[in-house]
Structures are given as structure tokens and as C-alpha cells.
Symmetry: C2
Subunit: 354 residues, 2 copies
């Protein structure tokens, strides 16, 4: 087996497999899945991006009517020549002093026995119900800690993007816990057990105007309150990561260290994935990182799509196969579809150690 | 007495009153003081900005050699025509792949019996000793909580600006506690006692590219780990605050609510100060805010200086005078000097309720 093996069935989930969340909406992307195992199934929590079906003579944009548990999707439908509407490039409109985006995301569950063929829920699992989520919820991670499934995701609003925390025990009910990282911060990946009495997470502050966006690490006594932050890894000067980097799925504990797969944005807005190995007892210390990408966009579904040449992972499960620990690494391709590749844990560690 | 009374002795502290922190340095500004009372004195913790004395034919920039407790100020001195040097506008140089700023700040103590005539320490109290402080430490706040003096300040580095925490018991020794808010976040103001079992603070994330920088509120069980963040107050559309706003000194507990003075940046990069009153038990609820500024740059030391038309406060003490609670509001004028105005607490509350 080579270092990585893409699933022959890729893409596993496409926009056409998803029911829109409201009448008049259409699905543009079903990508960047969080992943975990639950009751014998692999569960993905997909980012589903939607816009409004085009109608001649009108501009229609999706929005959420935010009202706590009563929040619901809606459509702002305006005549193309409405003098009160101001088009803001292709990403949205300004109407009566309020911004609307042309595309909004929510989070949707998909379940599978074999990890390859998924049944996607008809309705959203996590959707905007708060001011800080008014422009959508994106890019979840699921971390199982002591039989509870902690979900963090990006909340987008007029105040920027921030990281929200939620928790579920059954993937039916979900309890939102609020903002754990204020703007501008995303790509949070929780460690699934404490080190030295503290939970840790990777996170990714936006330091626009100073350096390049880098991977930071923070810690917490309880998952809710975070501090003692440090910059862990900055992008190197390679063609693969000279623009920015960010954390991926929750780190996986191995005998040799915490293993995680992070994403890099390099030349020509091309994204790749790479390995990172952190010290078991002091996860703010780097043991090794891969010197070349683990996965680059090569297949047609990775190079072409809504946003081509993007591979991004935020979901990984590890299964025993023929005596080997095998990572099933779910990833988003081209901000469009959900895909899978596999690699042996031992090979991933060897890749990091380069 | 009018609503506010500027101290006749303003500016109280000028750059010329400060000894440079290293040979070859010169002091450009002594401003934005934190303030508290300690052993019968008013203590200010000033931001002192320095650059290098100009020398014909050379470009010299200050920097800190960062090495924990052994950290010390140094000078990078280059011939003007050094081909390895790249001038980056007036703010710094790039040399051998490393950025240097032309100006650096540290924090310096000043002490006074009468709150007006200050003796400034000869040496810095808090200076860069960590990677996250390599471009300087700025704009402290001091909050007395249970007989300890908690100091938060901005650490500037190539990774952006973030909020550092430290603590002192005697204003001789100081213990750094690390980063409590990762980039880009500043203007943190701690509440001096818990509400409902949690400490609160105001903070100011930078949400560049989305909305305008606003005042947020977060809470903590222990001052070290922070969460449950909410956007508290966004800039209004007035000429005074349409650019951005940020918190000032630690909020002061009154019978009618937590009173704080915040700063606004409005038209023409002009800064003003305003009042804000928060609910006593639920400080994430606003009771009132002033409808017009409390203090505008009017005096010559406020309109002219290193950066004219800037007034900024991060230090306030409250003293009993003739049966009235009087706020002594220390402030930076024109990013240049430290000044003082006074106002009755009852008048400040009335201003907020406006």
C-alpha cells in the first residue's frame, strides 16, 4: 500500500445528494465533514452551502431569521432594479442598511455502516440560531471526550468569524455552549483527553496585517474557558504553505505523540494537507512535521469544483484493519464534495518524521 | 463644577520627564497610563515609546533581545546604504529576513502622593521578555482583586497584538501569566470582583474585513481562562465613533451599575471618550451609554502631538472629596503625554443616562 489511498468511490457525498434546507434554496456544496464513530456507524457532520434558485428579474438571497429555537431559513427576494438594493460583488447584497450573503452554510449529519456509503439527513443538525451565526455555521470538528461528543464549528456574522462550541450525546439533540474563541478565530481542534490536567486545542487566529495565519495552541480546565495561548507553528516559505496554515481534525493520540493532519494554503491559492506530530505530555512542543505534502489536489474532483485545488480535512477516524491502525481521513474537495483517503497511522508518523 | 474638570497641571508627565531605557534610545511618548492606589500613593503604569537617536549616515532601530529574564534592549545600527536593509515606510526596516519597528514601547511606573506630581521610575517595570512581546508592550490596565494587582497589557509581535496578563503584590516584583487573549485582541478591562461566580472583562477583537471593531465581553472562573464571549457594543454611526470603539479602565462598581469610560475613533481619526453603564448582576447587559462624548480633544496637548486629536484612557481611581465620589481619570493625550481630568461619579452616571 502506498502512503495514502484515495477511496475509489470518491466523491462520497455530492451536493446533488442533499435536500435543500428550505424551499427556494439550492445546495452548492456538501464538504468539509467532521467525523466520528457512534453506535457502530461512522457519522459525518457536513458543511452544506446553499444559495437561492435564480429567478429571472429578481435577486434572491438566503438568510436566517434569528430567534433562538424559533430561528428559520428565509429568502430576501428583490426586483433586480430595486433602488434600495446595493450589489456587493458576487458575495451578497446590502439592503436597507443590512448585509446579506449570497451563500449560507449549515451543518448536516450523514451516517454510514461502511464509512463509504452515506445516508444524509433531510434536515440540518446545527443551523444559525444566534446573532454570532447569522451568516452561517461552517467547518465542524467532533471530539469524543468521556462519552460526550463535543462539536466546535465556525460561526459567521457581521462581527466576523468565531468558534462556537456545542455538545451532543445522541446526535439527535444538541446543546449550544456559546463562543469559545471570539473573532477572528477558526480551525479549532480539541484534544480528546487532558494532558497534565488541562484540555488542549489547536486554533487559528487571523493576524491580518502582521504575520501569516498560523496554528496556535491553548488550554482549558473544562473545555469552556481557554487561556495560556501560544503560537505553535507558522507557515514555512514553501510553495505549499507560504500563505497560511490551520489545524485539521482533532489530534489522535499515538505512542509517539499526538498526530494531526493540518491544511496549508500555498502558491496560487492551492491547498494541501500535511502531517504534524506533537509531544504527548507537552502538546505545545512539536516533535516533527512533514517536509512535503501528504495530500495534494490531483484528482479531477480535487482540482475542479466550486473552488478548485482545495483539499481540507476536519474529520478523521481510526480503525483496526489486519492488525494495522488505519486512519480514515475524510476531507472536503474543491469546497464542493466530501471525500475519503486512508493511511496507516505508522506511515503518517513516518511522513511527519520525514 | 462642570461635568468634567481637566487638571490645570496637564500634561502631568511628558517624554522629557522619562529616562530612556537604553543608551542610544530616546523617549517619544509617555502616555496611556494604567492607574491604581497603593500604600497611600497613586501609581501609574505608563506606556513609554522610544526610538533610536538619529545618527547621520545610519539607520538605527531599537529591538529587544528576547531571552526570558535575560532579555534586554539593543540597537540594530546599519549604514543607510546597506544593501541588505529594506526600509518599510517610516515604521521600520526589514533586515536579513527579520522585521524591526522604528518605535518600541515598554511599561514604566510613576508614583505620586497627590495624584498630580509624579516621580517616574528610572527603569522599565514590564518590558519584552517573550516572543509574543518582541515588538513591545503597550497600554496596561491595573485591576485590584483581593489585594493582588492584576495587570493586563498588549503584547506586540510578528504574530500580531494580543493581551498578556501579569500580577504584582508590591509593584516591585511582577509575575507574567502569559497570553489570555490571542491575536488580534486588545483593550481588555477586567472587572474587579466576580458577578454570579465569574470574573468578567471587556475586550476588543479586531474583526477587520467584517464589521467595525467593537467592545466584547467574556467571563472566566479564575482570570486565566476565558470564554462565553459576546459582542456587547458596536460603534454607532455618529461622527465620534463611526470607525471603532474599545474599552478603557477597569469598570467601577456603583449602586446603579458598572461604570466605565470607553474610547471611540470617529471622523478624521479623532478619538473621544464616552460613558457606559452596565448591569450590576449581568454585566453583559447595557443600561445606558452617553449620547455625546464625555471628553473631546480641545486643549493644545490633546490636539497636537505625536498623534494629534487622540484622547485615550485606561486608568481611573475614585476618591472621596467633600462627600462626593470623584473619578480621577488619567488619560493619554496625542499618544504623547499623560494627563488627568476629574468628574463626579454621579455626573458620569447622569452623562451615560443622558
Amino acid at each position: 500500500m502506498s502512503l495514502i489511498t484515495r477511496c475509489k468511490e470518491n466523491p462520497l457525498i455530492r451536493p446533488a445528494d442533499i435536500l435543500p434546507s428550505a424551499e427556494g434554496y439550492q445546495v452548492l456544496g456538501s464538504f468539509n465533514p467532521a467525523a466520528t464513530e457512534f453506535e457502530g456507524e461512522i457519522i459525518l457532520l457536513l458543511r452544506v452551502a446553499e444559495n437561492c434558485i435564480r429567478e429571472e428579474g429578481y435577486v434572491s438571497v438566503p438568510y436566517y431569521h434569528i430567534d433562538g429555537p424559533e430561528s428559520h431559513p428565509a429568502i430576501l427576494r428583490l426586483r433586480e432594479n430595486d433602488p434600495e438594493m446595493e450589489l456587493k460583488d458576487t458575495r451578497g447584497v446590502l439592503y436597507r442598511g443590512v448585509d446579506y450573503l449570497s451563500t449560507m452554510s449549515h451543518l448536516r449529519l450523514a451516517r454510514s455502516r461502511d464509512g463509504i456509503h452515506f445516508k444524509v439527513d433531510d434536515k440540518p443538525f446545527i443551523y444559525p440560531t444566534r446573532e454570532s451565526e447569522a451568516f452561517g455555521v461552517e467547518d465542524a470538528r467532533i471530539t469524543k471526550i468521556k462519552d460526550r461528543y463535543w462539536i466546535n464549528y465556525t460561526g459567521v456574522s457581521k462581527d466576523g468569524f468565531c468558534t462556537m462550541l456545542a455538545v451532543t450525546d445522541d446526535f439527535v439533540h444538541v446543546e449550544k455552549k456559546g463562543i469559545i474563541f471570539p473573532p477572528m478565530n477558526k480551525d479549532v481542534a480539541l484534544f480528546n483527553e487532558p494532558c497534565g490536567g488541562y484540555y488542549y486545542c489547536l486554533h487559528r487566529p487571523n493576524n491580518q496585517g502582521f504575520g501569516k495565519s498560523s496554528i496556535w495552541i491553548g488550554r482549558s480546565p473544562d473545555l469552556l474557558y481557554w487561556g495560556d495561548h501560544k503560537c505553535l507553528l507558522r507557515p514555512d516559505d514553501s510553495v505549499w504553505e507560504r500563505e497560511k496554515i490551520g489545524g485539521g481534525a482533532p489530534p489522535y493520540k499515538t505512542e509517539e505523540g499526538w498526530l494531526t493532519i493540518y491544511h496549508s494554503k500555498g502558491e496560487n491559492q492551492r491547498y494541501t494537507l500535511n502531517t504534524l506530530l506533537l509531544d504527548l505530555e507537552h502538546p505545545d512542543k512539536i516533535i516533527a512535521k512533514g517536509s512535503t505534502p501528504l495530500l495534494e489536489p490531483e484528482e479531477i474532483y480535487e482540482t475542479d469544483g466550486f473552488f478548485g485545488n482545495v483539499v481540507f480535512t476536519n474529520g478523521m477516524v481510526v480503525r483496526e484493519e489486519e492488525g494495522e491502525q488505519v486512519a480514515w481521513i475524510y476531507y472536503g474537495a474543491s469546497d464542493d464534495t466530501a471525500c475519503l483517503f486512508k493511511a496507516n497511522i505508522s506511515d503518517l508518523i513516518a511522513h511527519a518524521r520525514g
